[in-house]
Symmetry: C2
Subunit: 771 residues, 2 copies
């Protein structure tokens, strides 16, 4: 019987009360020294073959009989009003089946009325103007050109700090600053502490807009059956898309089915229904045929979300011995045209070290640019870039080793809530990382010959990643000793299917190939949270374990009855029943299929509540070894070392992929990735993969990574925490610190491109000869 539990969940020191519904009893976590057979072992992707052979069907691959293709007309101006709009020529084009505009569809409010699905006001260059469905994509694209729109251009603003001023063009009725004021946090008295500090530093940092560029663009295929809608969607949250579509179209949840079986990546921008989803659904209803609507790469980079830029003013104060006494941050984050929330670049500043006086003032500001979306550790990537550079600046000023300074301010309890961390392996991560990069010996490795300068840097990482309820799972056992796990989660490419199969196989005592994992279907699945926030494994994994345990207990009860043996004399291992008193183990199939034709056992499980007395976080440290060419400004990364602690390691292979992927993405953020916007026209100049520079295979250095594999006794029944976001968090800061170590000056504006290095060098001795 399900029961309701009232829980408190901590997030950055704040507590949220929540009712959760629990199915089944929570299990005792596996002990740290428990001998596990499947969990912790390198396990290749269970769906690897499908993914590499092309058997796997992604949203783009969905083909339905009679399917039409959609295309979107987008605003050419960063801020405008549609004065008039004529779609007659487009409608007449042979093969065009429908044209949707704000004039012929219902007014559907989005983001709590912040804007409408289609409306005459356009707030960025790329905003949706009209939607065409046609027999093929080419016809739809041709038809876009035939829509005549008369735009009235409006004044626009693209810089968030500038946009925060009342004099700037207003994008929304309630002004450009989200919620009308900055988000403030304070503990102690930071201003006073700064005044009293022995040493202070002060710096302005900026971080650029970065684009997600998942291999698979955003998109949906919508098909109606009677009054029920099925949406295939490239999403990180099928239940989120379901809720969004149901709300927008006024449908009950049981009439909307969202499916996502395979997905070409998602980094936070695919958490809900897009305008493309709703437009495809409306058009499919109108024309009575399925509609396929996938964004082009250009649209993906204009309209599907991005990592917001930031401007951060940061001041630190410390005692002579390195004890941090004050942190003061004022930041501006550019939300683009639409957002309900702002990221929190102050997160690392508030939490990484034991500092009694901290103040953060965070402005989240609308601008006439493409909308912000969560992007792998939103806020923390930007905040760590600035804060961990500031720590190095302070170390320099104090003449302390940067690692010693960090250890000096190490804290085992959450400085915001005062609660102890469930586990914190950061100290060990420092130690291992320092050893692997050769931190203590780094001075002997420094090169200063010719134009080459070698440097070493490091940065720390903190992030949540505890996951939590609600998340459910079912475990169905067949009478041949095979199992199917049903969840409603999604494998966005991270290996969710594989780790869930490991967990179920471990708990059941089945071989892994006898366990299938079904996911990505709201109608057949059971609720799971979004695959974001590093929460998939720690939310869904524990539910799967409970479901498998429930099923196993039922199976053993049945076996006991059929074999007429006490249940506690029967053990399951590798799919065989080991029965006390019997010489040889018995195949499940033999015992059960014979006596119990076609029976099925159904185990249920839910994620239990998070601990109320512990703060569950993930930690890590990265070290960079770089060589900078002072003549060209080019940075060669010799090596990155990444050591992280995310609780118990379930699968070293998939966790390794996460670490490497995070580091590589961090590398791009540090050095090359930047959405370039023309300040005069408000247009994006590089919405493509040619000019937006994601690291290629040749750009990737040696990455050495290790996990501090520590079963977390409080986090959940697996002892595992998330690892999706942690590895991207400290990379750019570690590289920036290594560059500074090499050239003697900090480059405080991201990305650290050769021109910025040369500019910084111009102010220093090293670069002087270029001035």
């Amino acid at each position: 019987m399900a029961r309701v539990v009232k829980t408190k969940t901590e997030f950055e020191g704040n507590f949220f009360e929540q009712y959760i519904v629990i199915e089944g009893d929570e299990l005792t976590p596996w002990a740290a020294d428990e001998k596990l057979e499947k969990v912790g072992k390198c396990t290749p992707r269970v769906d690897g073959s499908e993914r590499v052979t092309g058997d796997a069907k992604y949203t783009y691959d969905i083909q339905l009989a009679g399917m039409l293709y959609g295309r979107i007309l987008r605003s050419p101006y960063p801020h405008a009003r549609i004065k008039s709009l004529d779609t007659r020529a487009a409608e007449k084009l042979h093969g065009v089946r429908a044209v949707l505009t704000h004039k012929n569809i219902p007014q559907i409010p989005l983001r709590m009325g912040q804007h409408f699905l289609l409306e005459p006001t356009l707030r960025y260059a790329g905003d949706e103007v009209a939607f065409i469905v046609a027999d093929d994509e080419e016809i739809a694209e041709d038809a876009l050109e035939l829509i005549e729109v008369d735009y009235q251009e409006l004044p626009f603003v693209i810089d968030p700090e500038e946009a925060s001023q009342p004099s700037s063009p207003q994008i929304h009725l309630n002004g450009n600053v989200l919620n009308g004021k900055p988000e403030e946090y304070e503990r102690g008295d930071a201003e006073k502490a700064l005044r009293e500090a022995d040493v202070t530093i002060e710096a302005r940092f900026t971080t650029q807009v970065a684009l997600h560029n998942s291999l698979e663009t955003h998109g949906s295929v919508c098909a109606w059956e009677g009054d029920s809608l099925t949406v295939w969607d490239s999403t990180q949250h099928i239940y989120g898309v379901r809720a969004g579509v149901a709300q927008a179209l006024g449908l009950p949840l049981n009439k909307v089915r969202v499916i996502k079986k395979y997905m070409g990546g998602g980094f936070g921008s695919k958490n809900g229904a897009g305008k493309y989803t709703l437009l495809a659904a409306l058009a499919a209803k109108k024309v009575g045929r399925p509609v396929h609507m996938m964004l082009t790469r250009k649209e993906e980079n204009l309209a599907a979300g991005n990592r917001n830029n930031t401007i951060q003013y940061l001041r630190l104060g410390a005692k002579r011995d390195g004890t941090l006494t004050a942190i003061y941050l004022r930041s501006y984050a550019g939300l683009g045209a639409y957002s309900l929330w702002g990221t929190s670049p102050g997160g690392p500043a508030r939490q990484l070290y034991a500092c009694p006086n901290v103040k953060t003032i965070q402005y989240s500001v609308f601008t006439n640019t493409g909308p912000m979306a969560a992007f792998r550790a939103p806020g923390y990537v930007e905040g760590t870039f600035s804060f961990e550079q500031a720590i190095d600046m302070l170390a320099q000023k104090l003449h302390m080793d940067p690692l010693e300074l960090r250890l000096k301010n190490y804290i085992d309890t959450n400085p915001m809530s005062g609660m102890p961390y469930s586990t914190k392996g950061l100290r060990e991560a420092y130690e291992r990382g320092a050893k692997l990069i050769g931190w203590r010996e780094r001075k002997s490795k420094k090169i200063t010959q010719g134009t080459q300068r070698r440097g070493f840097g490091m940065a720390s990482q903190i992030w949540g990643g505890s996951g939590g309820p609600p998340a459910y799972a079912l475990c169905k056992l067949n009478n041949d000793g095979s199992a199917t796990i049903i969840t409603g989660t999604q494998d966005i490419g991270t290996g969710t299917k594989t780790v869930l199969a490991q967990i179920a196989a471990e708990e059941l005592g089945f071989p892994i190939e006898r366990v299938s994992v079904e996911l990505g279907d709201t109608q057949d699945g059971v609720y799971s949270p979004l695959s974001a926030g590093s929460m998939t494994l720690p939310s869904v994994g524990p539910a799967v374990r409970v479901a498998a345990h429930d099923a196993k207990e039922q199976l053993l009860s049945i076996a006991a009855q059929v074999l007429e043996k006490p249940k506690d004399q029967i053990k399951l291992k590798d799919g065989l029943l080991h029965v006390q008193g019997l010489e040889k183990p018995v195949e499940l199939k033999e015992v059960l299929a014979m006596k119990l034709q076609n029976f099925m056992i159904i185990g249920k499980g839910a994620r239990g509540p998070n601990p109320e007395k512990y703060s569950v976080n993930t930690f890590g440290a990265q070290f960079a070894d770089v060589t900078v060419d002072t003549e060209t400004g080019e940075v060669l990364i010799n090596k990155i070392v990444a050591v992280h602690e995310s609780g118990r390691v379930i699968n070293p292979l998939t966790i390794g992929s996460q670490i490497e992927g995070g580091v590589i993405q961090g590398l791009g953020f540090a050095l090359t990735e930047e959405r370039v916007l023309d300040r005069h026209t408000g247009l994006v100049l590089n919405p493509n993969l040619e000019e937006y520079k994601v690291p290629t295979a040749l750009d990737v250095p040696e990455i050495e990574h290790e996990m501090i594999d520590r079963a977390d006794p409080y986090a959940n029944n697996l002892g595992a925490k998330g690892v999706g976001e942690p590895p991207i968090i400290p990379t750019a800061a570690a590289i920036a610190n290594a560059i500074s170590d090499a050239i003697g000056v900090h480059v405080t504006d991201g990305p650290i491109t050769p021109d910025k290095i040369l500019k910084a060098l111009n102010k220093t001795q090293i670069g002087g000869n270029h001035a």
Copy 2:
């Protein structure tokens, strides 16, 4: 927690012990006078719109990227051996992707080794020789012609009585009689009783081979993803197909997924994996692309199963007052080339009346013809045709009203087991039917003018239809007050989705449109039995009710906690929470979605065991009013009255469709439908819908039907029994008896075509002038 229950299930007086696994507690059946809101109400098909608009996707409609099409080469001879086979020319045809023969695929035994998937021995004209997959169906068909086969013809036999002789050509190693001997049943001493009877009758009956001719032919679409196979199949048992495919291909059950969302009918021949399924799966694996393999109408009628023909020798004995004292039946059923079981034409003889001395000897015999398959009430349609005519013959001889004779021998306990029937509404069915047809006044309506002769006839029906375990269901509740029922059953066109939605809506207290029913997917669903044997509703329905009840109880517990009210003060009705002390009912959404973001409730249910002390059966009576033209032999059916008792009526609309469909199919069996086989070549002459005469709309007379709506207190928690098969059972016998009533002579060979009527008339006074 699931538990194992050891049950006894009665079938025709035999008890089968079985372990079953039960989830959740069985519910008390709804009382007969319980006021139900959804159950018992005329409810249009919940998926009616999809079915009529073309939104519904049948197996034939499945389209997958890169899909190929399969075609089967079939034996042109009724019994032959492949001497040699050359596929080179076929393989060379452009667009042909693979050719499978017995030479290049594994030897896969079917029906416990009775035959192999492909093998050199061919046992009927239509037996599978080779399989081709090509880019389209036309190429595949062209390629069939290019396969060169050298056949060695073997002697063959097509008459089952002849085939039962040892001297006849042998089709299988163990001889032509299934299990080597007839199936015998005896109670009392039938031979002695016949010798001692006041009155006896004796007759030989034959029934023809009938073809199922579902609108949708058999077929499968097979696609592999890595080592997992998905099969879309037009089947009445997705889990049966899964088991068959897994066993044949050596796969664990979790690696085979079978899907059937919509289906164009099934009457018993679609209960498992076909050779077409396995060939498509093997070919899809070989070529690495999906394969679409649907039978043509011709293949459907040659190779996909049929209602076996029978030869029945029947003798009855009775006392002068009409008391039946002896029944003796010897029957031969033609199995065609392959079958593991034989039908039981003796079922009605053994059970319909209170006769102490009964003997049935049933031969099931292999012949060189297309394989037999279950066809809507297998055995009982054939057995009722003969037995209920024999009862009329006896009535004639006794000068008794046929209905009086039946009532004279009425019995309220199962004569095979001695157990009372849970309910038996046959007496009421007789009464209502007699009234509706005007039975008592029929003599006054008889016409004897010109060549027109009017007659009235009736027949009784008995059938199982109790359903039973195992069958499972889940009920998921969303936080907006909508629900999804998950089962693993299939709606073969009967309205399963609709009645399950009614049951769930009733139990939940939800509006029906807030309940979706998912079925037809082995991987996401939970085990349900085949949709055959009139068992879908009484097996799956009770499981759905338990699951919905479980979910509702959880929901009320949660509502009680959130509202801080005792649970028993909260009632659910039409999706609203009625709370004691609150003036207005509260929307579920308001209470729950606010407090419990994204929660999901999961209720589980299973079908409980059948009662051990009652025999659960269905009953009915049909009456026919016909006019025969003695010059042409044509039969005009003026009216059929059908009154049935199948426990509680869940949906009068769907039950009405079943009754009408059954009567119409019975009408075809009575008068026109017959597979015609050429005795000299062993070839089917009418494997098509032009020459195989299914009744058309114009052939359908007035059908008046009523249900004796009686909640069965023992059958299951719904009080409902099955109704799929009952209505076809007595139709042909009632029509035959009416014809006999009209023309004064019984036509004992089906179908009763004009030529047979004229031939029978030749032997009588009426027909004398045609001699």
